[in-house]
């Protein structure tokens, strides 16, 4: 047997490096019929904000070559609804780590939301979303400026003692600068990448496909760019890096780990194959065995240059 468990620091240890990305896996419950959710390393539940958000108007989806663009806009019923109604249903997951993705449009909102989630015993970490391209205020603007990123992470760090992941946007000139700002402000780890700002046009009507004109692109097509960014950040920060962006197979996940990621997240691929997460867990184990490795740490950052 190989050891797949990974330690991300500050009391966040996963049974294996495979998590599901926020916004692509609901609250895990939606997938119970299709896969053993509890066998995954972690599940990062839908982006949660202080207050209810209705999100953007329909249409919110454009399919692209080996990818898709979404413009959901953080639709959720707010953190109090999460704590009261959804959190109790998640207590049945005892092996996987349930992590809440926290979003906001002001520092005060991020802080208030993080404080409420900090009170939930069964949630060992939050993923601070400073990278959503689909909200008018806040969201990505915090993640595109190192000073702003530092300020919001610092403020949340003060009220959130458990593991703090900061999710980064790829829509910047230097993702390394933002990652370092998050590290210096006290992040325990960084996850990247969120979606790429993009658009699609219906040539029959000459109108944008999405109600918001632009949206965030995800899916297999973005993987090589995400991989490059994860490699750059892993070489620049000391905290663990969680890699995501287009991962659709065990081979993709292994590339991210070789590039330096301690854990990975699977996103859009969940829509096509709801059992993909567990297939990736098995594929990584098989790869380690075939390559005579006993522990996933032997693979991490093992890129040969």
């Amino acid at each position: 047997m190989v050891n797949l468990s990974v330690n991300l620091g500050n009391n966040l240890e996963l049974n294996n490096p495979v998590m599901t990305a926020s916004g692509t896996f609901g609250y895990g419950l939606e997938y119970d019929d299709f896969t053993d959710v509890d066998r995954l390393g972690g599940i990062i539940v839908k982006g949660t904000t202080l207050n209810l958000r209705e999100g953007n108007a329909y249409p919110r989806l454009a399919e692209t070559r080996q990818g898709m663009i979404n413009a959901v806009g953080l639709q959720n019923k707010g953190v109090d609804h999460f704590c009261k109604t959804i959190y109790p249903q998640l207590l049945k997951y005892t092996k996987t780590k349930v992590i809440v993705n926290v979003s906001g449009s002001s520092i005060e909102d991020y802080v208030a939301c993080a404080e409420r989630v900090a009170a939930l015993d069964h949630i060992p970490a939050i993923e601070l979303n400073i990278s959503c391209p689909n909200v008018k205020q806040g969201g990505m603007s915090f993640g595109t400026n190192p000073d702003m990123a530092g300020k919001v992470v610092e403020a949340v760090r003060k009220v959130y003692p458990k593991h703090l992941i900061v999710k980064l946007t790829p829509n910047v000139t230097s993702v390394v600068d933002i990652a370092k700002a998050a590290e210096n402000a006290g992040a325990d780890s960084v996850s990247l990448v969120n979606t790429f700002l993009s658009m699609a046009i219906d040539i029959k009507t000459r109108k944008p496909v999405l109600s918001t004109i632009t949206g965030g692109m995800s899916g297999a097509a973005i993987k090589p760019i995400a991989l490059r960014m994860v490699w750059q950040v892993a070489n620049a920060v000391k905290i663990p890096v969680i890699g995501l962006g287009g991962i659709s197979s065990a081979e993709d996940a292994i590339e991210f780990i070789i590039a330096g990621a301690t854990a990975i997240e699977i996103g859009t691929a969940n829509f096509i194959n709801p059992n993909i997460g567990n297939e990736v867990v098995d594929g990584i184990a098989a790869y380690l065995q075939a390559n005579n490795m006993k522990d996933i740490s032997e693979l991490r950052g093992s890129l040969i240059l």
């Binding site: 939606e30 019929d33 209705e54 329909y58 070559r65 979404n70 709801p274």
Partner: protein, 261 residues
């Protein structure tokens, strides 16, 4: 007990119905679980460079003796075009049964429902008509299309129950839209409720008539979806409670009064 399943079905029949639509019969490897009229499946596409996500398709018919599901599919884009080229014997993965089907309880919809289908929107009505007939109701079917060749399955519907047709060009049945038919005008009060699936403008027009005439009306929406199981929140429709509501899990069938038209 699982509510939803992910299963590799085998294509046992695929043939075209006209230039743009085709029918696919898929056999379950074992015993087909219960599916209800109005529910849908998420069809995984063959691996391709151009198409990526699953396609949500209504269940047209289910045969629990042969363990088969029948789908009617319109080539609406590259994905459904690609799917039209699969061969008998090939395997296709479905997530199913998804969504909430039609309410067919006669205590709620009466014993004389009017089922209206537009274009490929007739697909989910076939199973509904059969179930209603078996339950002793007296459904009437009204099918609308642009022309005779786009009128799908009219003989199959007529074999179950009284079926009338409209075509926009008058090549079959009454000339005009379904809303021009006597069933939607002077005869409308013969019906205890309406069930409709078709293009949005048609469903909107029928919902308006139903509301004005105070007849209960169920509509089946077909918004673009990524996951089909309530995770991505892409397929929402605005409902009268003021929320964006997932068509995949809260629909695809809605009471027409709950949809913001």
């Amino acid at each position: 007990m699982h509510k939803h399943h992910s299963t590799d079905f085998t294509v046992v029949d695929i043939h075209s119905l006209n230039q743009s639509c085709y029918q696919m019969v898929l056999k379950h490897p074992d015993t087909l679980p219960k599916v209800s009229p109005g529910q849908f499946v998420q069809v995984q596409l063959p691996d391709s460079a151009t198409s990526y996500l699953r396609r949500p398709i209504s269940i047209h018919d289910a045969d629990f003796e042969a363990n088969t599901l029948t789908l009617l599919i319109r080539k609406a884009g590259k994905g459904t075009e690609l799917l039209s080229h699969v061969k008998e014997g090939e395997k296709i993965n479905l997530l199913y049964p998804l969504g909430n089907g039609f309410t067919l309880d006669q205590a709620k919809i009466g014993n004389a429902p009017l089922l209206i289908g537009g274009g490929v929107g007739i697909a989910p009505l076939y199973m509904a008509a059969k179930a209603l007939k078996e339950a002793g109701a007296n459904p009437t079917v009204l099918l609308g299309a642009r022309n005779e060749s786009d009128l799908l399955k009219k003989e199959a519907f007529a074999a179950i129950t009284e079926t009338q047709c409209t075509t926009e060009d008058g090549t079959y049945g009454t000339k005009g839209f379904v809303t021009d038919h006597a069933n939607m005008k002077e005869n409308i009060h013969q019906y205890t409720s309406i069930i409709v699936c078709g293009p949005m403008p048609m469903m909107r027009a029928i919902a308006r008539v139903a509301e004005a005439e105070n007849i209960p009306c169920q509509v089946s929406l077909e918004n673009k979806m990524a996951c089909g199981i309530g995770a991505c929140l892409c397929c929402v429709t605005e409902t009268t409670d003021g929320h964006n509501t997932c068509v995949c899990t809260q629909g695809p069938v809605f009471d027409s009064k709950n949809v913001k038209w």
